[in-house]
Symmetry: C2
Subunit: 355 residues, 2 copies
Amino acid sequence: MTLPHAEVETPVFMPVGTVGSVKAVPQHLLEDLDARIILGNTYHLYLRPGHALIRRMGGLHRFMSWPRAILTDSGGFQVFSLNELRKVTEDGVEFRSHLDGSSHFFSPEHSMDGQIALGSDIAMAFDECTEYPACYARARRSLDLTLRWAARSREHFERHKQERPWDEGFEDKTPSLFGIVQGGMYKDLRRESAERLVEMDFPGYAIGGLSVGEPRELTRQVIAETLPLLPADKPRYVMGVGYPDEIAEYAAMGVDMMDCVLPTRAARHGLLFTSEGRLNIKNKRFAEDQGPADPECGCLVCRRYGRAYLRHLIAAQEPLSAVLNTLHNLAFYLETMRKVRAGIESSTTALKSDL
Amino acid sequence: MTLPHAEVETPVFMPVGTVGSVKAVPQHLLEDLDARIILGNTYHLYLRPGHALIRRMGGLHRFMSWPRAILTDSGGFQVFSLNELRKVTEDGVEFRSHLDGSSHFFSPEHSMDGQIALGSDIAMAFDECTEYPACYARARRSLDLTLRWAARSREHFERHKQERPWDEGFEDKTPSLFGIVQGGMYKDLRRESAERLVEMDFPGYAIGGLSVGEPRELTRQVIAETLPLLPADKPRYVMGVGYPDEIAEYAAMGVDMMDCVLPTRAARHGLLFTSEGRLNIKNKRFAEDQGPADPECGCLVCRRYGRAYLRHLIAAQEPLSAVLNTLHNLAFYLETMRKVRAGIESSTTALKSDL
């Protein structure tokens, strides 16, 4: 995937940099992990420090000193998940800040303006993330609204995408806008959503409305049913997933892009992902365990620190705990994707040599 | 200064790694800053994770994966400053944990055993840190107790210093024990303390009981009066100081070693030390300031990030804020000492070429 700010090999897992920082990790260590693309949250950045400010600072890449690619979500997910008092109309969503209760309004046009101001490489259409469970009629209405918003998003984005605040050297490059498939857990609605989005001809497509509380098997099923409806020669992105075995599985199914707060958020709570499964590093049984978090991992944390030390750091509430745990979890996720890519490559090679 | 785990050029500022971590900074970034020696707090490490555990883990160097030098304090300062209900007897101090209120007892022998178990390169004699203000009679009694404890510390330390838990390759090396001058703000008591400690012939001497609330001018005065009483051919260490201009001033007066939580603690509150003075990076006036925290600083933070981003990180309570602010402040402190050393060297060279 060739983006304005990076070449990105797929399938790719994108670390989440919610509010202009992948929590606890300095940018140069993200580069050392070979992260090529991270995600920024339009909603959070809109509230703090604000899109207009980031535009004046030259865009999010420059503001946070991250020269590689950035994907921004539309703000829709947070507007819905962090706001019980939101008011949805045809025009957009009125919501209250989860920080100070102040009142705000997002429309597809606002979301596009915001994402263009941030200067993301990939922007996402403004969608309504259908809650789970939702009855058929509700999922249908929600889907229709999302499709009308997708058309408005696309129109506004195409008219204004040249206004991205990028530095010199990017004159001939523009950001891309991806559409988002909704439709709840209903196969025919997912199909309709996918088909109508594909008609609009986006350069990439996301499957949204998953990881909203549904059982894992249902997530997999919706992905399996929806993926074939999306063009295989364009990036297919599943938003908000998942555990390491899930991202490996979805990648093997043909998903090109995924993001999730799990590796970073779990790290701050002491949950480490390893080749031997999950470790709750807070556990007293690690108090004198000098082995690395993951004996098969070559990350800087596993090369240098033992479980006993990582356990001590979180028990003593040391800020270094979040730094090291996050570094390891991200290394594990990115390595998981590297292995999937290597597997795809070697099976492609095997196929070729069979011919 | 040749220590078992490092060559340390003096004057040196030692970052404080309270409970086995210089807060928020991964060890490899401390190495990148060229920190050669850090400080560990015997009191904090005694409570969490415990000296016996650290000994079983091969000592503090190995536990925290810090191959360079470590100085440990005696625990005395925290026992006194964090405990209102402490009970001091000739034998030692009974105190309550600031974490859970549990009851504990430290004697000079306990402190030595603890520091030997940690495996520090430099241990400190167990002292009573005289409070400020203290009347003459109180300072006198406190000083006498500290001198008796210094003798007990020395005796116990010499008998057990071979028991340090160091790895192979250190067979012929042992830790050193420094004495601590007390005496409140009274010149004759400081003199008596220094002279009686020098008679005991420690390999290095600290000036303790400063930075306990006294005015800055008094700190300077006590240092100026006490330094000449300590042998110039042995390390002279002022504990718990100070601001950048203070450490430069004290170094110029002949102080060889200093430590202070100020650069690390202030960083977490958004106070940055720069060649242009102190910046409260939280201040709204930095919201759109794209310049580096310190235009004269070459640290990785100043090379990569602008004030606007640092201000955003602390305003949004991002954990990266503590990491970056601490890195900068430590870089500034260590650079301040490098400049002092370069100044001393060049004036020495100038002196030689004059001859």
